[in-house]
Amino acid sequence: MNALKKLFGGDTRQFGMIFALVALIVLFQWLTGGITLTPGNVINLFNGNSYILILAIGMVLVIIAGHIDLSVGSVAAFVGMVVAIAMREWHIPWFLAILLGLGLGALIGAWQGMWTAYVGIPAFIVTLAGMLIFRGAQQFVGQSNSIPVPREFQYIGAGYLPEIGPATGYNNLTLLLGLAGVAFVIYSEVRRRRTAKALGAEVSETWVSVLRLVLICAAILYATYLFATGRPGTSFPIPGLILAVMVLIYGFVSSKTVVGRHVYAVGGNRHAAELSGVKSKKINFLVMMNMSIIAGLAGMIFVARSTSAGPSDGTGWELDAIAAVFIGGAAVTGGVGTVIGSIIGGLVMAVLNNGLQLLSVGADWQSMIKGLVLLVAVAIDVYNKSQGRASIIGLMMKNFNRPSGAPGTPLQPDEVTSTKETISREA
């Protein structure tokens, strides 16, 4: 257990989700007799869920900042519809249409951000209103019709990496992408170890790093193999590419930039953040605006994939995105969560969806099972926390040595804090 924990870093929750994801994949692979991990199914899974995963990226930032956004489904549908109409009625070229969609998302986000950040209405209310407003607006502009979109536009939702270069029997660009991913993972691990060593911080044992790299690289290469060997004409899907780029950008922004830090600070303790000079209103505004831009993007990808914008697009997306974020380890109270965790959370839901469909489980059962998974995932988290410091983790660690980074005087639990927590739980 300790070795496993080391392997996946200190965040037990994240480790738990990775473990759950792998277990789910193995389970369905076995139950479906090997259909789960076929190129066709994996590509399908990505295509069918990329827009939810993309939404989860925006949603996790909103939730870290201590808010929620219920309007994403309606906003996505509205933007998708307007973009479809713009191309069909006004004959706008597809790339301008995408810009229009992002701009419209930004405008909607500014509207919701204004109410949330500057007027001070809880985001729950603002976006509940938004959910109604933009659903209605979508049906109003679309007259509740289906509006088809041109072939070039469909590429962003249903396209694949093209075939280029020598005929290797695989999709060359997909192979390149996979190799780049492996190189990136190895490079960043090496760099991380080197700087940690230089600073005198705790460095994990070499075997831990190596084994972790081997496992991650094997996973990437296997995925590459699956994507590169699909039926002719398919390869790594474009929405997957957009998703990957967004994960990189937002992962970086959330953990390494001033704005990202401020989002965590505002969500963790808004007053303390303000008294440290953080402009919390601006942060809240940006987070809400960003969410709507991403919702617009997700809406366009969906429309592109389904070749037309329809009146019922985006129904229930907000709930899928929120579920992904919470399964991925974010806290309802804000201040906690990661982009990558939310993606993993989203993938757990996606694999579950996909596996149940392959097994021809009815929608009724699917819904019930998904609900229970969400509940159990968060319940485990809450239970962990309520156990305080001398918790499951503590018990698991009890038989092992203490973390190597704790020389000198052992720290005692903060008396006041833990008392308060205990009491509030008792009450």
Binding site: S276, R389, Q412, T419
Partner: protein, 518 residues
């Protein structure tokens, strides 16, 4: 351990060789405690010494079986499995953070979880009758229907005690009962404790305010590093504050303030005719025409009773982070500046360490390194990208120079003791390199040893030519630290005294009276 056999009062409670371990940490090691019936027994020790852990063992927060040793209460070994069990036996603990519900009335709070019922229906008539009686016993003259949020902290404390009396308490445990109270409320509470003692109720008190302990306690048990060091009989042993401190820190503390010779320069920070209105009530001024200045290298004290407007003044100057600005001017180095936001205030060289560390000063989800750089991220960022290596280095540097006790800078701040948390907050503000640092109750809830260190840090800052403003409710602290002290009463500055002319009496007089002809 010294035991005193001069008294023959029966022992109501005995904790025998209590050992409590957390994973990797021995919080209590063979601690024994004997409390005599009807006495006030104080438990003293630095933060993290194990006082609260001991009380949690006693009150069943840590249930029987999770610790070693015996709790003998009224001549029987007890096996409390939760707080309810210990309360049923008559042991009631009142925590520093009160467990009252602000929206409910005094009466509803007193009977919460213990409602007098008749066939399942609450008998409010009886509740009112009994709560009036209980309020009279604690000397609280309030209508039982008043909502808790409408009465002050001091009165809330009394409601807690009334609540415990309702549970027919035999041993009342008070954890830092006066930490948030002003002088007169504190005195009232202490008198009440003496009164309850007269009625045969045994009390255990945990407090950092040694003068109060000296005043009311009959015996004192000193805990250090999870071990009971000694038990003192206050009257027989002639115990005074210095004696207690010696026991707590394991050595005599020569002086409670480090030596310091001020090097005072010119006035560089000045506030003139400062008027600020209450955030909700626009026509009520919380700062009235205040004028003050700070010189380089000077430590300036702000004295005033709780609610006098000290914090309001400081926070309104610090980027208008409190109240509605009405009028007034701020000068830095002789130039007028407008500080409309905290960001501008920080840029102008101001820093403000809040009195409320946990809810306004720290993000308890963060670790030490993130907190240390949080008020000056720009300094370690290039084009808005945070250099995490530099972050680590900076935090490590402050951890060493301020001697913050933590295994690494990656430790969460929530796990640190009060003194170490305060050091992290100080590091955060020192890293913004302020010219003027405002410290609001910098040593609240911090033990003696850490206090001394924090005083040292404050003096160092002054030696570097910075200005420091210290707001404190503890007059000895202000007198020991400040070069000059302003007094504040009802939002107005009522006087300023130099170090030489200031005394507790002269300050108290100015803190409680309106300004004489200005």
């Amino acid at each position: 351990m010294t035991s005193h056999t001069t008294h023959t009062d029966p022992v109501i409670l005995e904790m025998r060789s209590i050992t409590k371990e957390f994973p990797g940490v021995k919080a209590l090691s063979e601690v024994s405690l004997r409390v005599k019936a009807g006495e006030i027994h104080a438990i003293c020790g630095e933060n993290g010494a194990g006082k609260s852990t001991l009380m949690k063992v006693l009150s069943g927060v840590y249930p029987y079986g999770s610790y070693d040793g015996d709790i003998v209460y009224q001549n029987e070994v007890q096996q409390f499995k939760d707080i309810r069990a210990s309360e049923a036996a008559g042991i009631v603990i009142i925590h520093q953070e009160l467990a009252l519900i602000p929206e409910l009335s005094i009466m509803e709070n007193i009977f919460l979880g213990n409602e007098p019922t008749k066939r399942g229906v609450i008998n409010w008539a009886e509740a009112r009758l009994r709560s009036t009686e209980l309020l009279a016993r604690v000397g609280l003259r309030e209508d039982p229907d008043t909502a808790i949020k409408e009465i002050g902290v001091g009165k809330q404390q009394l409601v807690e005690i009334a609540k415990s009396l309702n549970k027919s308490v035999k041993i009342l445990i008070l954890d830092e009962p006066t930490a948030a109270l002003n002088e007169s409320d504190s005195q009232h509470l202490l008198d009440l404790m003496l009164g309850l003692k007269g009625k045969g109720i045994t009390s255990i008190i945990i407090s950092h305010k040694l003068n109060e302990i000296e005043q009311i306690a009959d015996s004192i048990t000193i805990i250090r590093d999870g071990k009971a060091i000694e038990t003192l009989d206050v009257k027989a042993d002639g115990v005074d504050e210095d004696r207690i401190i010696k026991g707590m820190v394991g050595r005599a503390l020569e002086s409670r303030f480090p030596d310091h010779t001020p090097k005072i320069g010119d006035v560089f920070f000045e506030v003139k005719n400062w008027n600020v209105a209450h955030p909700q009530i626009q026509d009520r001024l919380v700062c009235k025409n205040s004028n003050f200045f700070v010189r380089r290298g000077e430590i300036v004290g702000f004295a005033g009773l709780m609610g006098a407007g000290r914090t309001e003044l400081a926070r309104s100057v610090f980027g208008r982070s409190y109240g509605h600005f009405v009028s007034g001017k701020v000068y830095v180095d002789g130039r007028e500046v407008t500080l409309k936001s905290v960001h501008q205030a920080i840029d102008a060289g101001l820093g403000y360490v809040t009195e409320d560390r946990k809810s306004l000063g720290l993000n308890l989800l963060d670790d030490i390194k993130t907190t240390t750089v949080s008020a000056n991220l720009e300094k370690i960022s290039k084009r808005s990208v945070v250099d995490t290596n530099k972050e680590f280095e900076v935090a490590e540097q402050y951890r060493k120079s301020l001697r913050t006790k933590a295994p690494s800078v990656e430790e969460g701040v929530a796990k640190l003791s009060g003194g170490n948390q305060q050091k992290v907050v100080l590091a955060k503000w020192m890293f913004t390199d302020p010219e003027l640092l405002i410290l609001d109750e910098p040593t609240r809830g911090i033990d003696v040893g850490a206090k001394y260190e924090i005083y040292g840090i404050i003096q160092q800052l002054a030696n570097q030519g910075k200005g420091v403003i210290v707001i404190s409710s503890e007059l000895p602290e202000l007198l020991g630290l400040s070069d000059r002290i302003y007094t504040i009463f009802e939002g107005a500055i009522t006087g300023v005294l130099d170090k030489e002319e200031a005394s507790q009496e002269s300050l108290m007089k100015l803190m409680t009276s309106a300004r004489k002809a200005a």
